[in-house]
Symmetry: C2
Subunit: 355 residues, 2 copies
């Protein structure tokens, strides 16, 4: 089997961690005789913007539309307003290719310690399913009375039945397939009194179709607190675009930091390419120093393998990461070590080849 | 001096913790010869709603408009949709009385341990200043195509220059007064691309007037993660209504849980009464059991004393809470003990009288 990957390394530490991710892709090919990956790299991002006045070419989305998957690094640079950089690159990709599921494991890898004093590996292993195309990230809004003391800005949260239903249904399907026993749904229906009761209504309807799965609906504020006090109670957590975004950075923080967390932007019906990216940003403060943690990117490659049907390869990659972490010798500074991005990547690839 | 307090104990555990809060008010009066408190109790809330079809009387706000301060317990019951219960009681109070500042300390009390493995008391002591009248809690929105597959719900985030400026200015004034050295501002301007760049613009303008204070603007997702990884870097954190809401429950979680965290809904110019309430909810699951932690309510009384100019009394109340916690004998179950709400209240009052 042959798969084509569109590689968008992007800005800041994006290219640095992407290099390590691609080493793992190549190693996977060698390990698994039956699979071939080809890739095309796209130099889109903030540098491209500074030269061309746009984050990608006008026909950018068409250029990558027919690939099998997209590997993404990170986007954002101090010189470009960040609503421009994301709304002209990553968010159009998510929306145009109907990557309506943003899948983010919150799992404490072997070899890492949680910053939560009383929580162990058994307590920290769940999945966040985030809506990825609508809601709070609407791109709809504007200003009035600009330049006066009466100026105001409005932005619409837009929740459709279509969009809300499909993400909740996906979450329940996943729960059944993986035999997860409970579902946690984020809301804020008390205060966000038009959009969120709508979300809850649909949630309750779909929960009703799955009586075998215990469902809890929590307000986002309390839920954020529960990520600290009782993460062991979660199996699958589903939330809107913004709530899922906040919960997954928080989730990353409780299992070892932003540097390790991966994500999949999934188009479940495979009509369009899905996209895999670490959840961290472009981290301009450490870009160019060669010390960014490549684990988030490499774990994202593992999720990509999963998505393409090579679950075994995905597992081996994670096992390689865990063994390197357990040995504890090669770590980037964010994990308390003094190794470089390349050294960590090499160590993981080395393990991977041996497994 | 004489002060009138409107007491709205509300629902669930509200009345249980309020009783303990009022004991502390009475004790304060005895301790401090020069101050008198009178109070009027209002039975508003979900029971009132179930009898009268509204959360408070039509002229409710007028009934309390002239008091000096409001002490609030909690609102919400399973029988009443929670957007009804909050939008007919607590949120109209916050908005009508221009309590535009929601002030929430995140401080690890002596005698408590943080769930964060590597963080000590020195690391956990900052203030969250939350916008409390607009933004994501707009009460503006609606639905279209109800009952069809094309149904959608829209809710507006509404940020005014007036509202945004005043909360940021308040935060900086506080920073200068308390000689705090840095300001952290929550945003999500990359994704929420109309409302949040507006917020940032105003933030940068006001930050510009305070060059002596270091300002950092972080995206809410990263900021939530930093609450776990580097809480010691914060002095004052300011955020929108929703972001402040999420951050403060998270803040409560890292310093010992929702049961202890207090808040002040402040009208800084004293044109209207300010309101003090624990940040926890009505907790229907434990209501009636007499085991709710009254510390959030009692600490809110301390904030009320502060607000009325009796800083000394406020400090003594906090000291009393801390001494009881340090002795470790009398604690409610959420803090690992088996004492009742009343026992904890009594222990704190007892200490308070001895100091
Ligand atoms: C009851 C609810 C509307 C409220 C809020 O979100 O403001 C509560 O969570 C709080 O933080 O005081
Ligand atoms: C870059 C930004 C728009 C993005 C988001 O908020 O979705 C990022 O934080 C993420 O979580 O993937």
């Amino acid at each position: 089997k042959h798969f084509s990957i569109s590689v968008i390394a992007g800005d800041g530490i994006g290219p640095e961690v992407m290099r390590e991710g691609l080493k793992v892709v190549e190693a996977a090919e060698k390990l698994h005789g039956g699979v071939r990956f080809s890739y095309e790299s796209y130099d889109w991002g903030c540098d491209y913007y500074l030269q061309n006045g746009m984050m990608m070419p006008k026909d950018g989305l068409d250029q990558i539309r027919d690939c099998d998957v997209i590997l993404f690094g990170a986007v954002g640079a101090p010189e470009v307003p960040d609503h421009v950089s994301v709304w002209e690159l990553i968010l159009p990709i998510r929306r145009t290719f109907q990557q309506y599921v943003n899948l983010r494991p919150v799992k404490l890898l072997k070899g890492l310690e949680s910053p939560l004093r009383h929580k162990t590996h058994d307590d920290l292993d769940f999945l966040v399913v985030r809506e990825n195309t609508e809601g709070e990230y609407s791109n709809i809004g504007g200003r009035l009375h600009e330049g006066t003391p009466y100026e105001l800005a409005i932005q619409n949260n837009v929740f459709t039945k279509f969009g809300t239903k499909r993400i909740l249904e996906y979450a329940y399907t996943l729960a059944k397939k993986k035999q997860k026993k409970n579902m946690t749904i984020a809301t804020k229906s008390n205060a966000i009194n038009f959009a969120m009761p709508f979300w809850d209504e649909i949630a309750k309807e779909i929960a009703g179709h799955h009586p075998e799965i215990e469902t809890n609906i929590y307000h986002i504020d309390a839920l954020a607190a529960y990520f600290i006090s009782k993460p062991e109670e979660f199996d699958i957590v589903v939330g809107s675009n913004l709530f899922g975004d906040i919960l997954t950075d928080l989730g990353a923080a409780i299992v070892g930091g932003l540097g390790i967390a991966p994500s999949g932007n999934i188009n479940p019906d495979f009509h369009y390419p899905s996209m895999f990216e670490p959840i961290h940003g472009s981290a301009p403060d450490i870009a160019g120093k060669g010390i960014a943690n490549p684990i988030g990117q490499i774990w994202s490659v593992a999720m990509m393998m999963d998505h393409l049907g090579f679950t075994g390869l995905g597992e081996l990659i994670i096992q390689s990461i865990e063994e390197v972490l357990q040995e504890g010798l090669v770590r980037t500074p964010d994990l308390g070590g003094d190794s470089s991005t390349v050294e960590v990547g090499d160590a993981i690839v080395h393990k991977f080849k041996q497994l």
